[in-house]
Amino acid sequence: MTLPTIRRKKLIKESDFTKVAKRVKKSFEEEVKYLLEKKLKHGDTLSPHAFSLS
């Protein structure tokens, strides 16, 4: 099976990307907080991704 290809790649606009990344980082932090609270309450396991956001 052939791999799909793209003729012209779009480059990332650094300033726009940074703005979106900051907002997404906040979302991830919210999710980690939710997981931590859930873990404290129910003893659920914590996502391994939780430690990479700091």
Binding site: M1, L3, P4, T5, I6, K9, K10, L11, I12, E14, D16, F17, T18, V20, A21, K22, R23, V24, K25, S27, F28, E30, E31, Y34, H49, S52, L53, S54
Partner: protein, 165 residues
């Protein structure tokens, strides 16, 4: 500090697809300037950045509202050039990979299985970039390069893996 990688990395990846694992996207939001430059350098060096839907699912789940969901989707779409479809062949190769892994497969997530099967499917035309350096075992996948990204609290270390190199 900037990203540290061997000088042979870019020439090796030229005209190949680089499959991005979930952790790459998660780390990119920690140092967006550094990562956006890396992604652009790769794109300029004729490397096609790709991912699979399972990775998208991992990133999108937990989005508290529609705006946050769309922001994540935009981040992913800004980075990747193409999302690779899961074909019947990929699904078949997941079974092969489970057999190859044996007991080590116990810890594999479904996403990792599909990433691994995608590497098996496209062989030397594709590599995986992941910080999950314990699940892609070297008796099955070849660790070709190591990339280090220093950040405020430590170093993100990634492996570049290929199947059948």
């Amino acid at each position: 500090m900037e990203i540290l990688y061997p000088p042979t990395l870019f020439p090796f990846l030229k005209n190949k697809h680089l499959l991005l694992d979930t952790n790459v996207f998660r780390d990119a939001v920690v140092k967006p300037t550094v990562y956006s430059r890396l992604f652009n350098d790769l794109k300029t060096a004729d490397v096609t950045l790709v991912t699979i839907d399972a990775v998208r699912y991992e990133l999108l789940k937990g989005s508290a509202d529609d705006t946050k969901y769309k922001e994540k989707m935009k981040l992913i779409d800004d980075i990747v050039d193409i999302s690779l479809p899961i074909s019947p062949k990929t699904v078949e190769l997941v079974y092969t990979l489970i057999q190859d892994y044996g007991i080590h497969g116990t810890v594999m997530s479904l996403t990792d299985l599909f990433l691994g099967a995608t590497l098996m499917q496209y062989q030397n035309r594709i590599c995986l970039l992941t910080r999950d350096t314990t699940d892609f075992i070297q008796s099955v996948f070849n660790l070709l390069f190591i990339i280090n990204v220093p950040y405020s609290k430590g170093i993100f270390t990634y492996g570049v893996y290929q199947y059948g190199a």
